[in-house]
Symmetry: C2
Subunit: 339 residues, 2 copies
């Protein structure tokens, strides 16, 4: 099959890779209908993470083509969405809703779903069946559920976005934008997008942002305070992963408020004294997308949400390298790859 | 009046201080019945915090002797317990239950309650009336409510101690011990005290600890994991405030679990990548004792809890210096001072 390999920072190629095979009786093989490039794929692309001949991609929707002997809930031909982290969905951590930290979890990044096929470990616990064959226009949204929507949703849930609350969103990438969509669905009164890019501001408003703040850092925090009677936001979504964005998120949050952080942390160090003084709830990490998938698939199926709008470029898998370039140069928010 | 002043690390004296006077119409003056020495008073005593001619003490119970013109809920003669942080109890932060971060809060440490009298700012929002004159044997417990009990209670609430949960407690000082008492009251199934001091282990068991772990650091974490099916504790109370204790707390907690940290943070730096990877709920800071005071006073009044057992030494205020020495040398867990 064909699949994406990152040879080195900036060097992405579509190559012939071995077809996946069932390795464990709990595996399934899927034919990938659509996959995409993640903001986190830019960390190695830009040389912030080491990379050498690495298969790429962890987001996917597809059709089951083979199931292992112990797979109980899936059959060949099922249309499925899965999380970017595998999960048995039975251990105590999964049962508590933290499937991304399942005791048997593995990241789909090591398997590389920017490809024609993929092996899905722990298929029963990882994949969720769609109600049927997805209409073509829903494919981007269903794909988004696999990571960016599920991650933005987790951030909004972790930040306890809810009626009566003001939610601030740090980061205007696909995850931040879908955090806005999630906060809106969760009933938040006021959603402040922190963004200085006109195209992203427009999408933020489409997803439910009521206000835009262009200032960053201390100035951004001061604006949020000003807009919230001096208190700060009840809920803050952090969707970047840098020292600056984490500090901005924590400082924009009111005492007793909730920060949900989902930007993959890079070189972040939190001052214990500041955290102690702030007294905010902090929860973050790789999103337990599996927890939310059944609900998200239904919302998409019923056309109540349109998270697929974050994809502003669609390319065939063969042109993946151009997709990486477009995201790196901020010409695209998020690139969908068709197989 | 007489009051404690710390001239320098290790140099505590009881001296003549000016009698407090009403400075704002929302102030009250109380005659202090009992006060005590806090574990956090040892930070400056041991030279870890700078100190120079500082009035000491932030825990207190007493009798109202004067009220300002705008005080509505208190009268001269009322027996009261107050928090170590003042609060208006009306701002949005207070209404959300985070009175220690009230927009008008001040710390009682600047006023210094290791003294015969104290001015209590925002008296209506800070003080809680007892049902009447407290029986002598309840005085230690009521005094504990002012900080150590309220702080341990907050830690247990932040850690979401509840039926069905295993709670690990890092720190066997008065706050950690009362975190155990709180976890027990909140219905936790299993409470693991991390302690290597026999006297504190005994008190931990009296307060409800079901298990003792003497190992610390990575070994302590490994023991907690071993005792919890490999998962880690659902809830962890951190009651020390050092890098080691915070890491121990976060690492002993299962993914999706809750860490409540109340040890005053000293030189702590949390690795963002580790926090991201752990996916634990984190909440801590100065405890909003005021939130819990009405319930805690009632539990004590009804003799359902006996937090006063943490006081293992009682001295007259005049002998405060000996109290500091005893706590510094670990001859006493916590010292009550009578006026």
């Amino acid at each position: 099959m064909r699949g994406v390999v990152m040879h080195a920072p900036g060097d992405v190629r579509v190559e012939e890779r071995a077809d996946p095979v069932l390795e464990h009786p709990t595996d399934a093989i899927i034919s990938i209908t659509a996959t995409c490039i993640c903001g986190s794929d830019l960390w190695p692309y830009r040389g912030h993470d080491r990379v050498h001949n690495k298969v790429m991609g962890h987001e996917y929707i597809g059709v089951v083509t083979q199931v292992g002997a112990e797979v109980r809930t899936l059959a060949v031909g099922d249309h499925v969405v899965g999380s970017f982290m595998t999960s048995d969905n039975t251990c105590e951590i999964c049962q508590a809703g933290f499937q991304s930290r399942c005791i048997h979890t593995t990241g789909m990044g090591a398997i590389g779903t920017q490809a024609e096929y993929a092996r899905i470990p722990l298929a029963d616990g990882t994949l969720v069946k769609m109600p049927g064959e997805p209409p073509a226009d829903l494919i981007p949204s269903l794909l988004a559920a696999s990571d960016v929507l599920g991650t933005g949703w987790f951030a909004a849930v972790a930040a306890e976005a809810a009626p009566g609350k003001t939610v601030a969103v740090v980061g205007d990438g696909a995850v931040g934008l879908l955090g806005i969509l999630a906060a809106k669905q969760l009933g938040a009164d006021r959603i402040i997008a922190m963004s200085r890019h006109a195209d992203r501001q427009a999408l933020a408003r489409e997803f439910g942002a009521t206000d835009i703040v262009e200032e960053r850092g201390d100035e951004g925090v001061a604006r949020i305070k000003e807009m919230t009677g001096g208190y700060g936001a009840h809920s803050v979504i952090e969707a970047v992963g840098t020292q600056e964005s984490m500090e901005q998120a924590i400082r924009a949050c009111r005492a007793g408020g909730h920060v949900g952080f989902v930007g993959v942390s890079h070189g972040v160090s939190l001052n214990g004294g500041e955290l102690f003084g702030k007294t905010v709830h902090l929860l973050g990490g790789p999103a337990p997308v599996r927890r939310f998938l059944p609900e998200l698939i239904q919302l998409i199926w019923d056309r109540k949400i349109n998270p697929g709008a974050v994809f502003d470029m669609t390319l065939p898998l063969a042109d993946a390298a151009e997709g990486y370039r477009a995201m790196d140069e901020r010409r695209a928010i998020k690139v969908l790859l068709t197989t």
